[in-house]
Amino acid sequence: MTRRLPHKDVVIVGLGWTGSILANELTDAGLDVIAIERGPWRNTATDYPPTYAQDELRYRIRHELFLQPAQTTFTFRNKMSETALPIRNWGAFMPPNGVGGGGVHWNAETWRFLPTDFELRTHLTKRYGAHFLPADMTIQDWGVTYAELEPHYDRFEYLCGTSGQAGNLQGKILTGGNPFEGPRSRPYPNPPQAQPFSHTLFGQAARQLGYKPFPQPSGNLSQAYRNPLGVRQGPCSYCGFCEWFGCGNYSKASPQTTILPVLVRKSNFTARDQCEVTRINLDPSGRRATGVTFVDTAGQEWEQTADLVLLCAYTIFNVQLLMLSKIGQPYDPVANRGVIGRNFTHQTISDVVSFFDPKKFIFNPFIASGAIGMCIDEFNGDNFDHGPHGFVGGGYMGQVQTNGRPIETTPVPPGTPKWGAKWKQAVKENYLSATKPGTGVHGSMYSYRDVYLDLDSTYKDRLGRPLLRITMDFHDNELKQNRFLTDRFAEIFQAMGAQQMDKQYRRAPYDITDYQTTHLCGGAIMGNDPKTSALNRYLQSWDVPNLFVIGASAFPQNAGYNPTGTVAALAYWSAEAIRTHYLKNPGQLVHA
């Protein structure tokens, strides 16, 4: 029997970055807020202390901090004509789990998207003409502009203590920063991190080639910091166990190290962990959410009623909950109708692994942080003329190597056997003098009519609910983009003095077993037209006005950057709309 809990003003599904930000903003506004999190509470000193956080097998290989596929997973196929099969072990992306969400085990790369990224279709059409875009490309404008989001990017960076060098301060281009970034109102709150040897050499080589390299904006802190909430972080110690791992010394920005200490102290905030929301409940009209139903670890079902429901789970779980709750019209790629599940995207990642003379170079690859590195942005977004190249989109590239963890990062030159004496010798010779950026080319992925999400009719999760089905493949535009970017990237390593290079282009078909990034986007996108978007520009559901869906699920397409900065900016943007408009007059904020 379902048990009912006392009514709350707000129920938040998922207590990661967006859930924490929304909870903090809305408790500040005086609302009584409960957050319901599927995974466990996580704490620095007891869950990933520096006594055993640096365990590559446990966290990197066995995925301890992530959701387990046995809890729930997805099915996957490349094409609509194929049968989707379940993802039995994670590969291409890693769904987070637990309080702090992906913020616990992210790299802390804290980027802003380009101003043109938010008005993508309008901008590209204007510059290149409508015919330049592939016919089945479904990119859209976001309905929000960079200028509108700028104060919210700023808030997130100051919350995190992001370490970086401004490139465009209120329109003034600054040396050493990213000259392509949108104008920022303030410098980063902390100076850039120190750069290890290979990262520094990459920057020098890029400069020699005429590019304008800059340090990657990092949520691994360059110095001790106290954020505007009063929460303190320490300086990063470059341990090389950052992404996939929790940070053991309070030096990586996460909900735990920036918000939660303040949030849990508030009498109008409650968190429940180990509770999985199974659906959003609607009143008989179907136009108003009454709260959520969740199950605890004992299998007991609970109902939490609330005036406002905020969906703050990992991107595609947001989409799945909308579908399971029958909110919004599911997307039909054949009829090209419906909104829930459309414009699903990932990222176009590739790498160049380079081998240098061991007698001349000691890179000490184990000295690094999750968001370390020198990057260039000449080939991102529409920072260059795409006319001659026949594709749109781009990405940043850089020597952003995060680690020398030996299970993952013992590269051997092309042609080396995968085992045996030659392999062992090559590992030994090259460990200290090879570079393996990991996600060295961080390309955009634009949206297409046949890349989408819906419910699988065969496979179920442990609670008997249909799994979400991913239909995803690379399109020529992205493959061309990647070839061009990867070649430019390799030229920089060549200039650094690499003896040998392994150019690992991204190739079709999309492979669900090969880790790329965890930057899944779209499926419940924002926009100006309810026919082509699930949410309005404030991330409010067009169909159920007391439901907001926060996350990268709202991205109409993915840009050539890591998404967290933009996800968090959208969370603050949405929170502000709720505080200043919605609470005064609950209802639809945009009338289409």
Binding site: L57, T83, Q195, G240, R272, K428
Partner: protein
């Protein structure tokens, strides 16, 4: 923590139970960050001792495979002496072996490679089948130059390599499993054991880390990040410590 529920209760773990009692086992967090003394979930240290997974029938083959994947050399032990088989034994006897946490609901349908493995067999079952089938393959004398009646471990090293290349490139098929996929897994598992923290049974005396110059579980390179092109001076350390941690 709600007003009046005090640290002393937290020390005894009573507070969480007190406020959490409304929701069965699911915890309610309010007022203060949860914390208990001694709370930690370190990896269990693998102790030498009886085999937990491999049978005496299987051991010669897996030890020989480990030593061909990572052959010994004058500076660094091979897979067997580095403890990779101990590592594998404990891994296969544990959650990895039973595919704990993975999605195991049917139907099991073979798809395309990029959809990932769709086997209903756990790694433990696969190893069991594969090692027996490998010995049988060798005893049958089926590979070119492979003498009849000898088990894998009894073959000369170059013949062992030849069989292994056959597994790797699909030339050697074993009944009851995807031999090529098994070989990929085997190489990965042995190499994982070689490089994982010695707490897990492999990488004995941090031999693999010493071989490449990886300082192990250290957590602070603030003094070295800006010392470019200089060899890091300190030896590796395991999660379980190192010899220098003990007064002499």
């Amino acid at each position: 923590m709600s007003d009046g529920i005090r640290r002393r209760d937290v020390l005894t773990g009573a507070a969480l139970a007190l406020v959490g009692s409304a929701a069965a086992r699911a915890g309610v967090i309010k007022g203060e960050l949860p914390w208990k003394p001694d709370e930690a979930s370190p990896p269990p240290r693998v102790e030498p001792g009886a085999w937990q997974f491999f049978t005496s029938e299987e051991l010669p083959a897996i030890e020989a495979l480990a030593d061909r994947i990572i052959p010994p050399d004058p500076q660094t032990p091979g897979g067997k002496d580095a403890g990779c088989v101990v590592f594998l034994d404990r891994q296969l006897a544990g959650p990895y072996g039973s595919a704990a946490g993975l999605y195991e609901q049917g139907p099991f349908i073979q798809g395309v490679e990029q959809q990932g493995a769709q086997s209903s067999k756990t790694p433990a079952q696969t190893y069991r089948t594969a090692l027996q089938a490998l010995d049988q393959y060798c005893r049958d004398g089926r590979g070119s130059g492979v003498p009849h009646g000898k088990r894998f471990a009894e073959l000369a090293p170059d013949l062992q390599d030849q069989v292994m290349h056959g597994l790797e490139n699909g030339g050697v098929q074993l009944p009851g499993l995807d031999a090529k996929q098994f070989f990929i897994t085997l190489v990965k598992d042995v190499q994982d054991g070689f490089f994982a923290d010695p707490m897990y049974g492999g990488n004995r005396d941090m031999c693999a880390w010493k071989m490449i110059g990886f300082p192990g579980a250290r957590y602070d390179y603030r003094d070295w990040v800006s010392r470019h092109n200089e060899r890091y001076p300190l030896p590796p350390v395991s999660i379980g410590g190192r010899a220098a941690w003990r007064p002499r």
